[in-house]
Amino acid sequence: MTSSSLNAIHQSVSRRQFISQSFAIVGLLGILIAIITLIALILQMVLQGAPKLNWQFLTSFADPDPAIAGILAAWVGTCLVMLVTVTAAVPIGIAAGVYLEEYAKKNWLSDLIEINVTNLAGVPSIVYGLLALGLFKYYFNLGESILTAGLTLALLVLPVVIVTTREALRAIPNALREAAYAMGASKWQMIAHHLLPYSMGSILTGVIIGLSRAIGETAPLVTIGALTFIAFLPESPIQPSFPFISFEWLKAPFTVLPIQMFNWVSRPEIEFQTNAAAAGVILIAMTLSMNGLAIYLRYRIRKGLKW
C-alpha cells in the first residue's frame, strides 16, 4: 500500500471522527441546557419559598393574611383527586390496552382506534375540562366535587395509560405467549400469569408519567369550577363508627395545589409570592417522589426479567 493511499485513509478517518465528536459536544450542550434550566428553576423556587417551608404552612388553611396562610386544603385536595384519578384511569386504561393489543382483530378499525387514542393524549387539557363540565357536572350531576375533578383528570391520563400498556405488551416476545399457550393456558391465563406481570414495570412508568401531567393541571379543574379559597377538609374516608368507611369526601368541594399557587401569584401583596413559591416546592416534591416511587417499583419488578 502506497503512502499516499495510507494518507487518504488517515484523512478520511479523522474527518469522520471529527463529525462524531462534534455531535457528542452538541448533545452534551443540549443536556446541560436542560439540566441547568431545571436546577435554576427549582433552586430559585426553593430559595424564594424557603421562609414558608415549615409545618405550619402544611397544616394551615388558606387565609387573607399571607403570614398565616397555608396549603392544607390544597395538598389534601391534590392527594384525594389523584386517588380518584388513579382508581379510575389505571384499571380502565390497562383493560383497554390489553383488549386492543391481545383481543381485538387487527384491521382498519383497530388502526383507526389506535390513531385516535394516540391523538387523545395530545388534546389540550382545557378541552377535557369542557367535556367534563358538560358530562360529569351537568349530565351526571356530580357537582364541583373531588369525584368530578378526579374523573376529569382520569380522562386526561387514560390515553397515556392505554398507549403505554400497548407498547409494554408489544415488547414481550411472542415466544413467551406461545410457551404459555403450548402449556394449555387460556388467553386470560396467558395475560394474567405472564403478560401483565412482565409488563407491569413499563405500564407503571406510563401511569406515573400520566399522573405527573395530571397533578399539575389547572385549566380543566378551573373549568369544572374548583374553588380557589377553601377553609375546611373533606370528611375523612375512615370513620370511627360503623361502617368505618365513608365516601362522602368524593362529593366535597375542593382545591388543588396548582390552583392555590395560581391564586396566590395573582395577588398584589408581595408576601403571597413567597407562599406561591413554597406551594410550588411542595408540588414538585410530590411529583418527584411519585417518579422516585415509579423508578423503585420498576426496578423491583424488572429485576430478573429478561428475554
Partner: protein
C-alpha cells in the same frame, strides 16, 4: 406428484394425519400430508428450509390458531378417536394433551420451580405436595434435578442454554403429555448440550410419543425410529429411519440425504 409410501405399517399408531392441507392465507403451505406417528417412537421430520416441517409440527397442537388467516383441511386423529383439527374441539384441550418444546429455549421469567409447575397451575392443581412431587419427577425425567435441586427458587434465566432447554422439556413433561413436539430443539445449543438433550429424548421415548423437526440429518439418523422427508410442502417419503438413510425409494430423498441439495 410423488406419492407417500409407507413400507412398514407401524403397529400402534398414536397420531394419524390424513389428507392434511394447510394454508397461510392464500399460500398452500402443506399439501395432502398423510403421516402416522407410531406410539412411543421418535419420528423425525427432515427437509430443506421452508419445506413446511415446522408448519406441519405446529398443526399437531393447533399453534396456528393463534394467528388469523390460517386454515386447516383434513384430519389429525389422536388415539384413533379425537380429531385434533376439529373446529368443535377447543385448541386448549389439544394442548393439554400435546406438549411442545421450541427452537429457542423459552422459559418464563419466573423461578425454576414455577416454570415446571406452570402446566399444573393452569390445570387448577392447588395441592402443594402434588405440585412439588410432579415438579421433582419432571425435573428428574428431564435429567435436570441434580443440577437444580438446591436452587429451585432461582430465576430460570440463570441457567445455561442447555439447562434452559431441558427445563422447557421438564415443563412439557410435568403434565404427562401423550405426544411431545420438538421444533429443532437443539439448534440454539452447543454440541455438549445437544448430546444431553438427545440422550434425554431417547429415554423419554419409553413414556411418550415424540415428533421432532430437525435440520441435522445426523440427528435424525441418531435419534429417530421413523423419518419423514418433506419438500415444498409435500411429504415425499416416510419410512423407518434406516430405510430412509440407507435405501430410500425416492430420488429426491436420496439426493437430500446424500447432501446434493438443501
Amino acid at each position: 406428484m410423488l406419492e407417500t409410501i409407507l413400507q412398514t405399517t407401524p403397529l400402534h399408531p398414536k397420531v394419524e394425519a390424513a389428507n392434511l392441507n394447510f394454508y397461510y392465507g392464500n399460500t398452500h403451505a402443506l399439501k395432502n400430508i398423510n403421516l402416522i406417528l407410531p406410539d412411543k417412537q421418535i419420528t423425525a421430520l427432515i427437509g430443506p428450509s421452508g419445506c413446511g416441517k415446522t408448519t406441519l409440527l405446529r398443526c399437531f397442537n393447533r399453534m396456528h390458531d393463534l394467528y388469523s388467516g390460517n386454515r386447516y383441511e383434513g384430519e389429525i386423529i389422536l388415539d384413533g378417536s379425537v380429531n385434533i383439527l376439529s373446529r368443535r374441539l377447543d385448541p386448549i384441550e389439544v394442548r393439554m394433551r400435546v406438549g411442545m418444546v421450541f427452537q429457542r429455549p423459552n422459559p418464563f421469567p419466573k423461578s425454576i420451580f414455577e416454570n415446571v409447575a406452570y402446566g399444573l397451575r393452569v390445570r387448577g392443581e392447588k395441592n402443594r405436595t402434588t405440585i412439588a412431587d410432579k415438579v421433582e419427577k419432571a425435573l428428574r425425567d428431564a435429567a435436570l434435578w441434580d443440577e437444580v435441586k438446591d436452587r429451585l427458587q432461582d430465576m430460570a434465566f440463570n441457567l445455561s442454554g442447555g439447562q434452559q432447554q431441558r427445563l422447557c422439556i421438564a415443563r412439557a413433561l410435568a403434565t404427562d403429555p401423550e405426544l411431545i413436539l420438538f421444533d429443532e430443539p437443539t439448534s440454539a445449543l452447543d454440541p455438549i448440550a445437544t448430546a444431553n438433550v438427545e440422550d434425554l429424548m431417547t429415554q423419554l421415548k419409553q413414556q411418550v410419543t415424540i415428533l421432532i423437526v430437525t435440520h441435522s440429518m445426523q440427528q435424525a439418523a441418531r435419534l429417530s425410529d421413523y423419518t419423514a422427508f418433506m419438500y415444498l410442502g409435500e411429504l415425499v417419503e416416510h419410512d423407518r429411519t434406516e430405510v430412509i438413510f440407507n435405501d430410500p425409494l425416492n430420488k429426491q430423498t436420496r439426493d437430500y440425504i446424500s447432501g446434493r441439495f438443501g
